[in-house]
Every structure is written in C-alpha cells, then in structure tokens.
Amino acid sequence: MALVDASLFASTDPVALQGSSCSACGTQVFPAQGSCPTCTSVSVSPVALPTEGTVWSWTTQHFAPKAPFRTDGFVPFSIGYVDLGPVIVEGWLLNKTDWHIGERVRLELAKAWTEDDGTVVHTYGFAATS
C-alpha cells in the first residue's frame, strides 16, 4: 500500500502509528525520533502507539491549504489532536466536520490523494467510534 510516509506506521494491517519511547523518562513522541526532547536522552526505541483515544482539540479547514498540500479535490476537512494516553497526536478527523472535545475516536487509514499513474496514497486519520 502506498503511504504518505511509511515511517509513520508500525503496521498497516492492523493499522498502528509508530512513535518512539524514551527508556530514561518514558516520554513518547510521534513520529519516532532518535532522541528524547523531554530529558535529552538518546536511549529511545520504536513503539506502536495506542489506536484509540479521545478528541483533545479540533478544527475544520475551510480553505484549501497552499502547496505542498496535495488533494484530488478540496472539500473542507477536520483535523484535531487525539489524546492516546501516553501521547497526544495530530491528525485528520474523518467522515464529518463537526466534533466535540472528549469524543471517542479510532485510528484508520484514509485516502490522501491519487498519483498520475492511479496509485492511491494513504495517510492516517481518526474516525468516531459509534
């Protein structure tokens, strides 16, 4: 599967985001990086992040962002921060444009854009759990 950036994902089936966890202080960050911004340690290792959480904040993007934004056709879409427990992750909020803080959501793959050769590129997003 074509992804916006394969390094964001621990796996795609089932889908999980790849962060990194600090062995010294426990801080988790996303995407994974080679050092800990909290305690300065370089003793960090990859970790698959939780896939369910709650909406921490949200907005709906009512105008098409400038390049390098890519889309097959702009329609307003929501983005938000999702509290996954050990870390709060920013991402698309899928399938609707009106949200409330505290709403429960689950990680999913989402279509980002289609390349000229027809390849569909995917990113991650969070959908409301019904």
């Binding site: 916006v4 950036d5 390094s7 964001l8 962060g19 801080t27 960050v29 996303f30 995407p31 911004p37 909290t38 921490w56 904040s57 949200w58 907005t59 709906t60 993007q61 009512h62 105008f63 962002p65 400038k66 390049a67 390098p68 934004f69 890519r70 889309t71 879409f77 983005i79 938000g80 921060y81 509290d83 427990g85 050990p86 870390v87 709060i88 992750v89 920013e90 991402g91 698309w92 803080i101 980002a112 854009w113 990113t123």
Partner: protein
C-alpha cells in the same frame, strides 16, 4: 529614582514608524523612513549612533541599510527570529549597549510581505514532507486548535473571540498608521466567513508591510535627549519546554501545559521588580483574536478564565483596568514580521509619554508591557517604565 540613571540602564528615547498595510516599493525604503523618523524624534543624526540592530523575515539584508543611512563604520547586527524578531532585535541592542559601554543604539525592523497566509515548508521545521502534503502545515489551523482547547479548559465562551476582534478594529479605526480602519461589531466578527472554526475571517491578522525604528540610549545620556525616556526595565527571550503547545507539532505531551510566553513574562516581571497587576498599558501578540485571549492569561495579566467576563466588562479597552493593544494590534495593523514587535514597543512608548497617535490611555500611565510570540516556540517580553518629568 536615581538608580534609574545608572549606566547599566537602557532607555528608549525616540521612535519612528511607517504606515502599515500594502506597499509597492522596496522594503528598505520603508526601513529608511522609519529610521529617519526615529532619529528625528530623538533629535539625533545617524553619525550619533554607536551600534545598530536590524531584523526582517524577508530576503534583504538589514545591515545593508548603512548604504542608505551612511557608512559610519558602526557594528550592525542582523537578527531573524520569526514573529519574535522585533523583540529579539530590541534585546540585542540593549545587551550591545551594556556590553560595549556605548551610548546610542538604533533598532529597526521591517518587512513587505505578499498577500495571503504564510506558506511554510515542513523541512525548514525539521518535519517530514507528509505533514505539509496532508494539509497540517497551516498556521490558521494551529491557532484554531489552540484556542479551542484553551476556551474549553477555562470555560470561556466562544463569543469572547468576537469581542477581541471588535476591540482591535475599534482601536485600528482611530490610529492614523493602522492598516484596517473599519470598525467591526462583535456579531459581524462572529458571523463572517469561517476560516478554521472557531476562528472567522475577522479574527485573523494578515501579512503586510511596515517598518518601525527605535533609538535607545544608555544611562544619563537618555535624560539629555528626552524629557520622558522609557526605561527598558526588562527584555527577556525564552524558548519552549516540555508541555508547550507550538505551531507545527505532530504530537503534544499529555502532561502539564507550559509555554515560552509564560516563562518570558514571569522572568521579565521578576527582573523588573514589577508585578503584572501594576501594568498600565500592554501589547500582546494577537495574530488571531484567540491569541490575545490566551496571552492575557499566559503573561499573568489576568487569571486564566477571567477573559470571558473581562472583555464583556471592558477591562481591556482604553479606559479599562488594563488597556491592551491600543493601536488595534496585529489584527488591525497586519503583521510585517520583522516590524511587528517593535510596533508594540513604539505604541507603548508613546502611550507612556502621553503622545499616542491613536486613542490615548488616560490618567498618566507609567508602566507598560509588550509580548511577542513566534514559531517554533519563542517569546520575547519587555517591561517598560516611564522616567523623567512627571513620572
């Protein structure tokens, strides 16, 4: 106070500012206009200047201004710190005067931006291209996400955003150098086009053009040049710590919220030996109306959550408890990034000296405060104190 005349004290003794808005010419023509205005205001010539500091977010080199002003051989330092550039330029000049035991510094900030929101490249911020490609590298969405959470945590009504806009355009409408001079009602602000909910078109500032220059003097020299020199009682720059919520952040820490504005303001008040409650007039970074609300709380000028009632009660208007952004702030002036922080200081200097170009804060204000904040998480704050006659 006699201690205030010490050689380690630095004062603002003059300022010059161009009109803000759209500008067709060269950005350094704006800078020159501001610098000549500042020198005239201080009663000095370029040959009197010992050191200079210039800031812009654009492509021209501020130190090239010596070609226009005169090749006097002085050290000219260039700074570039995003939205905090003006604050950093001022602080650099203050530190330079003290370190070099010089007398007179000229500070200038300018920019001439093209239309539309800033387009940012992920790689410049150390983020993967995916972040821009998926439409998250957008400053307006960051402002919306931050104020949504802030309003939620502190129980502030969304209508407060409309009050902040209404206040800004009210003061802009009476300031001769402001860009946006048409008053907007609370309801008009709330009902204008939605950009990133909860923020509408009338709740954002836009990039534009403008230049501001200030003349600083060290020690007793300031009192020879100016009847009411404004003492730079503190000028502090701080960066982010774990727990801050900054623009272009794919992740946040779930722990306690921190912020560079909280740290910079706290340090500035401590260094100045002045309490936030003693401030008579303030300028806060208001790239959107939510930012003004957040920064009121973060700088300690009010208690988080108090803003809802504060705007309704008129606490932050010209004759209120704490007049804020009395020239209309970034909302009414736009944001020429290099000039914006110095516009704030220029406005507060004039308010303290009783010669505001727009509406004047009544009752002889003596203590001022300014705050800028920028990507990727830095804040510069100043505490300004009127000295001299009548202070």
């Amino acid at each position: 106070m006699s201690a205030a005349k010490s050689h380690d004290e630095v004062y603002i003794v003059g300022g010059g500012m161009t009109a803000f808005g759209r500008f067709d010419g060269e950005d350094q023509a704006l800078a020159e206009e501001a610098m000549r205005g500042a020198l005239a205001d201080a009663g000095l010539s370029w040959n009197d200047v010992d050191i200079a500091v210039g800031g812009t977010n654009g492509e021209t080199k501020p130190d090239n201004m010596v070609g226009r002003m005169g090749l006097s051989g002085i050290p000219f330092t260039t700074v570039k710190n995003g939205c905090a550039t003006g604050g950093v330029a001022l602080m650099t000049a203050r530190n330079g005067l003290i370190a070099e035991q010089s007398d007179i510094a000229c500070v200038v900030g300018y920019d001439n931006h093209s239309r539309g929101a800033f387009a940012a490249s992920p790689s410049r911020y150390g983020i993967g291209e995916w972040y821009g490609a998926t439409g998250m590298m957008v400053t307006t969405s960051y402002f919306a996400l931050k104020i949504r959470r802030y309003l939620h945590e502190h129980g502030i009504d969304e209508r407060t955003l409309g009050y902040a806009s209404q206040k800004a355009f009210d003061y802009g409408s009476s300031h001769p150098l402001a860009w946006r001079r048409k008053p907007v009602s609370v309801d008009e602000a709330l009902e204008s086009d939605m950009i990133n909910d909860p923020l509408t078109r009338f709740m954002f500032c836009s990039p534009d053009a403008g230049a501001v220059s200030l003349i600083l003097a060290r020690g007793p020299r300031a009192f020879d040049l100016c009847e009411n020199p404004v003492r730079l009682a503190a000028a502090v720059l701080r960066g982010r710590r774990p727990g801050s919520f900054e623009v272009f952040s794919p992740w946040l820490s779930p722990g306690e919220r921190t912020g560079p504005s909280i740290d910079a303001a706290k340090a500035a008040f401590a260094i100045a030996g002045i309490a936030a409650a003693d401030v008579d007039v303030a300028q806060l970074q208001d790239t959107d109306s939510g930012a003004e609300i957040i920064h009121l709380g973060e700088t300690g000028l009010c208690v988080d959550g108090e803003q809802g009632a504060g705007y309704v009660n008129g606490d932050y208007v010209i004759d209120g408890r704490l007049p804020v952004n009395t020239d209309g702030g970034c909302l009414a002036n736009g944001e020429p990034v290099g000039a914006s922080g110095l516009r704030q200081v220029h406005e507060v200097m004039r308010q303290l000296q009783g010669r505001a170009q727009g509406q004047q804060v009544p009752n002889n204000p003596r203590i001022g405060f300014t705050h800028v904040y920028g990507a990727p998480g830095i804040s510069a704050c100043t505490v300004l104190v009127k000295e001299g006659k009548g202070a």
